[in-house]
Amino acid sequence: MLDHNPNFVLSVEGLTVSFDGFKAVDDLSFYVEPNECRVIIGPNGAGKTTVLDLICGRTRATSGSVNFKGNELLTMREDQIVHAGVGRKFQTPSVYEDLTVFENLELSYPHGYSVFGALTFRRNDTVKLRIQEIAETIFLDTLLEEKAAYLSHGQKQWLEIGMLLIQDPELLMLDEPVAGMSVAERRKTAELLNKIITDRSVIVIEHDMGFVADIATRVTVLHQGKTLSEGSMERVQSDPKVIEVYLGH
Amino acid sequence: MFADYSMSELGAIFAMQGFAGLILFSVFVLMALGLAIIFGQMGVINMAHGEFMILGAYMTYLTSTLFEAYLPGLFSIYFFIAMIVAFFASGLLGLFVEWSMIRHLYKRPLDTLLATWGLSLILQQVYRSVFGAREVGVSIPDWMMGSLPLTDLVEIPINGIFVMVLAVAISLAVYYLMFRSSWGLQVRAISQNRVMADAVGINTAWTDRLTFGIGCGVAGVAGSAFTMIGSTGPTAGQLYIVDTFLVVVFGGAGSLLGTIASAFSISQAQSIMEFFLSGSMAKVLTLLVVVGILMIRPQGLFSLKLRK
């Protein structure tokens, strides 16, 4: 196998992590192409979140390799992985509650990462315009001055997505972006996601099958840390193994 | 430096030094057990831990004075009564403190630390006002005085042995409570997953209060034991804080075995170094080594791998 296959943005090979003997992800391999939207589904505890944790450096892998555009991510620090172009949204919305929406977005603006850079960072017109633009995309342009603590659950999810968008990552990873949202919010989020997944690779974890069918290029079904099935939505949905462990109930 | 001693003298020195280390070990274990319960299981930093120990010591002093005055016939066994009194005095104060203070601060660990420091100042002043600023010593029953000659050169003090026996007994009792009683099961369940424990019907609020109370009670018993080897003053508790916390953190919060192993290694290191260096340098070096190891291995000697 070549070190890096230029047809893939992300190559995950033999990825394994064991927590005191329990293998939450077990010899997992999959490949993501440019502009692909990969959806990972699977029952609770299948290891979906853990896979994202491993790719973005939050959890250290026991063995395997994660290659992103020629960089081995498993040996890199979290912030270096972000700079390489990987963005990650957490399952529970994590925004800075004590800061305003504007400030939340500003802190994610990809500039002034060092101590010195952060001290000398200026809030110039380019920054303000970019924040305005992102805020419109995530439906929060009228709430820029509001503290994030006062946003609804759905708005916080959007804000976190906006914080990733402003960094313009090449690989975007979203963990259950519509969980806990109202129907109206869900529809708006689908619209938002469809808009932002066009010119980048995306990995989404989701349970909502209608939603998955709407956005997925390919689907990976995870079960007990291993791939149970992989392919287009139709193929996966008709796979008897998948129906048995996941869709069947 | 060894040339001046004969072989048998050297042997005796090492035996005595080793024994001194064992007494220090017992002291550390006694100090740390209560804290290991409170910090290890609840994550609460109780800066007044030393003052809970001192309360136990003062209770022992009171009991000894009362027995001397009114029940001189039973004086030889007063200490066992005193331990029970100490356990309940410190334990009840612990329950009260949890109810009035700690429970409001569970989500703010750093604030708990400051508030319990305030509590420790208040308790110190209470002790000073009630018992006076001078250190008090208890009268030790006759059978606990003197020492046991092992060989011509090696003698071990009986009160030292007594403290060691107590340390073992109390460790066993705490072990039993933690791993064999239903309270222990609930405590461990809560420390692993509070929400789930709540959901399956464990009364987490009451369990927390009881845990804090028992931890304080054990501290009281430890303080009671200390009266056998030293005197008690209002600010004596502060001297224990750093050692106690380091023992617990070094052992790995949440691991009883870790606490004991860490008490053993720290006490042995300190008493061995004391033989070669001045007392204060031995202390400095021991603390530096412990802190150094903690920097390399922040989770301590023994630890559970828990999800962030």
Binding site: E78, D79, L99, V115, L119, M163 | I122, V284, M295, P298
Partner: protein, 379 residues
């Protein structure tokens, strides 16, 4: 803070700085005799530590219980210089080894230890006042923050450092002056620091230095780094996965706090005339936290008032009712945590600032509406 007004000073900030400047430079000198003024100068040296703690603890959520270490290191660096200047061969002619500090002679040292030598130069000593604490903070910070040790663990370990340094200083009395510390300091480059006039000058020097530190702190708070600290306190992982190396920010702010503390320590030595381990250990270190908490852990100006008020109360109460003082201090710790977590600054922002704002807005209504809110002042 609004988007438009990301200025270094909001109107409330300006009021805060101006009032504090008036208190420090005008009110106190005019109302206090020179003994009391020197006492308040001493209190103000603790304010350096408290301001550093606002940045570390209030903003960044890093509670250090070992700030006394840095205060002490700065103070000892200054004291070493002054002691060497005071220990001329003429002054120490009666010693068995003239020309070395008296406590060394008492401890049978016959030569100045090599690491005391550089402290013969003032420039080196002044540099060391900042550099030594910062170096220590850097080492501790790198070791702890790189390994993601934080919260209560960090607090306990910094406390252990305070204990270690105290034991070390007391134990090595031949090199450090032991439990008495370094005393009997006389002149700074020939200028007698013990006179009333000198003490008054030092009070003003102290005030100017304190305001310089406050300005630096204000700049940091209002920079993106200040907002990052708050973000890190609440959602450390989110900051990390937004591409920041969280540890380097924590190390920076911890070192800055140490630098402030070191300057405070040096000014303490100069104004009070000695430095001793009683200012280094566990108890003084945690008391410095309460100065910060009483003033308001989020307000740099509040921290200064906190240091002044608590120490003033301590001096007055422990003079007349020594028993009451410990009850008072203990109660203060509990009350400030349970009832007023934002301290004096919080009370000010809730009750006083809105009135001032209303008053000023009414006056400037025809010029344009005020864009500063009381909330900004609380930050």
């Amino acid at each position: 803070m609004s988007i438009a007004s990301n200025r270094l000073f909001t109107r409330q900030d300006i009021i805060g700085f101006a009032v504090l400047a008036a208190v420090v430079f005008i009110v106190l000198p005019l109302t206090l005799d020179s003994f009391r003024l020197n006492l308040f100068g001493k209190y103000l040296t603790y304010a350096f530590v408290a301001v550093g703690l606002v940045l570390c603890w209030g903003a960044g959520g890093i509670l250090s219980l070992g700030q006394g270490v840095f205060f002490g290191l700065g103070g000892y660096c200054m004291a070493m210089f002054l002691k060497l200047e005071a220990s001329t061969p003429e002054n120490t002619a009666i010693q068995s080894t003239p020309g070395i500090p008296d406590f060394m002679d008492w401890n049978q040292l016959t030569a100045l230890p090599w690491w005391w030598e550089p402290f013969n130069t003032l420039t080196f000593a002044l540099l060391a006042v900042v550099a030594v604490p910062v170096m220590f903070a850097f080492i501790i910070g790198v070791a702890m923050f790189r390994r993601r040790v934080g919260g209560v663990y960090f607090a306990i370990i910094t406390q252990a450092f305070a204990a270690i340094l105290t034991i070390l200083i007391i134990g090595q009395q031949g090199f450090t002056g032991g439990v008495n510390g370094i005393t009997d300091l006389r002149t700074l480059q020939g200028w007698d620091i013990r006179t009333d006039a000198a003490k008054e000058t030092l009070y003003y020097v102290n005030g100017v230095l304190l305001f310089s530190c406050l300005l630096i702190a204000q700049f940091v708070r209002k920079s993106k780094l200040g907002r990052l600290l708050i973000a890190m306190r609440d959602q450390e992982d989110r900051v990390r996965f937004s591409g920041y190396d969280v540890a380097s920010f924590k190390i920076f702010i911890f070192c800055l706090g140490a630098a402030f503390a070191g300057i405070g320590g040096a000014m303490f030595t100069l104004q009070v005339g000695f430095m001793s381990p009683t200012l280094v250990g566990i108890v003084p270190s945690i008391e410095m936290v309460i100065f910060c908490a009483v003033g308001g852990r989020l307000s740099i100006i509040g921290a200064v008032y906190g240091a002044l008020l608590v120490n003033w109360a301590k001096t007055s109460l422990s003079e007349s009712f020594p028993e009451l003082w410990l009850f008072g201090l203990g109660g203060l710790f509990i009350a400030v945590v349970m009832l007023f977590p934002n301290g004096l600054a919080g009370l000010y922002a809730d009750h006083v600032a809105p009135r001032i704002d209303r008053l000023l807005s009414r006056k400037s209504a025809d010029v344009g509406p005020a864009d500063d809110t009381a909330r900004a002042a609380a930050e």
